[in-house]
């Protein structure tokens, strides 16, 4: 077995980091911007204030980390969802390429969008 050089441990570490970041940050952000503001439960911050928050380098750094790690988390978990849930392990190589390819493309898009906000 060619095991020691397997990329699995790194994929798993990134999956775990992404899972942790997502677990901590996503619920509150989704609750505010996805539900509380649209329903009018809380009034949405005005544009000038939100723009100042979003353009702050620390915010951008946190959001970039969140996007990249959350996408890598998705790539790893979704790959196994297809393997086990739909029994597609025989297509392991194309699935892996699609999942991690998607995460990389998503990360590049995230970098572009976030840099634009700087």
């Amino acid at each position: 077995m060619t095991t020691k050089r397997s990329p699995e441990p790194f994929a798993w570490l990134l999956f775990s980091a992404g899972g942790m970041v997502a677990a901590l940050l996503v619920p509150v952000l989704l609750l505010l911007f996805g539900i509380a503001f649209p329903l009018g439960l809380l009034s949405a911050p005005d544009h000038a204030y939100l723009a100042s928050v979003v353009s702050h380098p620390i915010t951008l750094l946190v959001l970039f980390g969140l996007c990249v790690l959350a996408l890598l988390h998705w790539a790893h978990r979704f790959r196994y969802t297809l393997y086990d849930g739909l029994q597609l392990k025989k297509y392991g190589v194309p699935i892996t390429i699609c999942c991690y390819g998607g995460a990389i493309v998503g990360s590049v898009v995230a970098a572009v969008v976030l840099l634009r906000a700087l």
């Binding site: 901590l24 509150v28 989704l30 649209p38 544009h47 939100l50 969008v113």
Partner: protein, 136 residues
């Protein structure tokens, strides 16, 4: 492993098939399936977040468009479902974390309950800070 196959040439073994819907067989398997599906909604959240940032950095009219879009019933329903899945992710994630982590203080192992509580405390603090920054 070849032992299974070696045995089958002498015996007529019965091999029960694995159904494509094995994850429906038990409630615990279904919960596992839903937990794994949560990753799709986390990916959706990344898309939604980038749409928000893009709108905010494009000016106040674009931001208003984003707010209108987010109030669209279909988007709202999607986000309610996504939040349910994300909460499932958070709760199961914290529940499983103490299994991988074995922390020690001196010779004593930190009890799993303490590690679990620390995760929830961190969640509370992070959520409060984020909410404070956004709502201030």
């Amino acid at each position: 492993m070849s032992t299974r196959d070696a045995a089958s040439s002498e015996q007529r073994l019965y091999r029960p098939p694995v159904s494509l819907t094995w994850w429906l067989r038990k409630p615990s398997y279904l919960l596992f399936g839903l937990r794994e599906l949560s990753s799709v909604f986390i990916a959706w959240f990344v898309v939604y977040l980038l749409m928000l940032v893009y709108a905010v950095s494009s000016g106040s009219a674009a931001y208003q468009d984003f707010l209108d879009l987010s109030a669209n019933p279909l988007v709202l329903i999607l986000n309610v479902i996504a939040l349910a899945f994300v909460l499932l992710h958070t709760i199961t994630w914290f529940g499983l974390a103490p299994k991988a982590m074995v922390l020690r203080l001196g010779a004593r192992r930190v009890p799993p309950g303490v590690i679990l509580a620390a995760h929830y405390a961190a969640w509370l603090v992070v959520s409060a800070v984020v909410a404070w920054v956004i709502l201030r």
